[in-house]
Assembly symmetry: C2
Homo-oligomer: 248 residues x 2
Amino acid sequence: MPRSTLYQLVASELRRAIYSGALRPGDQLPTEVELMGIHQVSRNTVRLALGELVNEGLITRTPRRGTVVRERRPLLIHPQRELQPQPEETKEAFAWAVSQEGRVPSQHIEVAIVQPAEEIASRLELADDEFAVVRRRLRFVDGQPYNTNDSYFPLSLVADSEIARPGDITRGANRVLTELGHRQVRMVDDIWARMPNTSETHRLQLQSGTPVVVYIRVGYDEGDTPVRVAVSVLPADKHLIRYELESR
Amino acid sequence: MPRSTLYQLVASELRRAIYSGALRPGDQLPTEVELMGIHQVSRNTVRLALGELVNEGLITRTPRRGTVVRERRPLLIHPQRELQPQPEETKEAFAWAVSQEGRVPSQHIEVAIVQPAEEIASRLELADDEFAVVRRRLRFVDGQPYNTNDSYFPLSLVADSEIARPGDITRGANRVLTELGHRQVRMVDDIWARMPNTSETHRLQLQSGTPVVVYIRVGYDEGDTPVRVAVSVLPADKHLIRYELESR
């Protein structure tokens, strides 16, 4: 059996133990020497197998604590919920999703008027001299930084509204847009991933080797004018995006 | 001005040049010394700025070729298309999307009967002793490996069909499922990202530091039985997933 197959076999047995719950978050794996004995393989094979699981975000290896199953409580994001009719008292979507899981949401908000970067300006269809209001949020779950969400709105549309003023909008910016006559009726979601930049690594306290999912949503009103561009940066080990589609 | 802000400013100017097309894929960036002069900053600041852009997948740095704008032709994935009524002659979705862009799709297929890993078995709601047929595809665009797509089907449903036989199914496995009386009417899509494992890095010829997006689709028939689990591994620098949603 070639070596590549052998280490993959060991990796797959460990992976199964983690997925099945036999090894739980925070549990320590056997040492390299113990794994060599259990699987009757060389140290090199053990190391290759463990490397796979590190890459997949399942375990972390540190000199002091050894090899440990990673804490994984990904937050489930349901992008479709924002388009469903919401009861009057509904909280903003993130706060709602987190509370549903019995966890405590919080956030820092910063509001600014900016000339957004090309990738935002083009999505908002802004002219060169047009400004946007950005509401930049760093979001926490149980006090831990979880993700960032920067929402951009054309200044011309929202200048006189709560959206352009600092501080939280309890009923959500989407409802304010609706009140302004720009209810979003269509959304286009772009999703990809990349490695975080230095500032993201720092703000989101990312472990090294953790990619981020970038999720950009553009909301269009009934006149098909883009009224909001929301950029979420979601550390990949803590988030899962789920869409549910039905044939019409 | 603190150093962190300064290098981000330089990074942002370079980023803008790339997004606007002033710097095009394959173009060489000025040298570190030239950038120090242009932006009136230290070498360290230049290096921090370039590091950001490497992290974002915008540029690559090699000792021989210097700093070069990365080739980025992400393939646009439209997960909703699979649920739309398709004309009789429609090609399989990947082949179709690639042809639409004037590029040439091809693939290697491997068909096997397996006891799938926990994460697949649970989604297919298989009992412990039940098997699945897996159709493993490595897909190419213009001859370059692009992504993998492994589709699992309960063996009990597809044992006597083309799905369980080696080789391509020109009209797509979804149509075969429909012919078998298991048309998929509901899909649940889970999307996250992680670093690739060794085998993926090799098969997909990934540059180091390129995460992969994992996209798992479960298709349910009219009786709400899961009839297909499709796992796509999409190198993050080459793919963009796009959903379009409308309020009902």
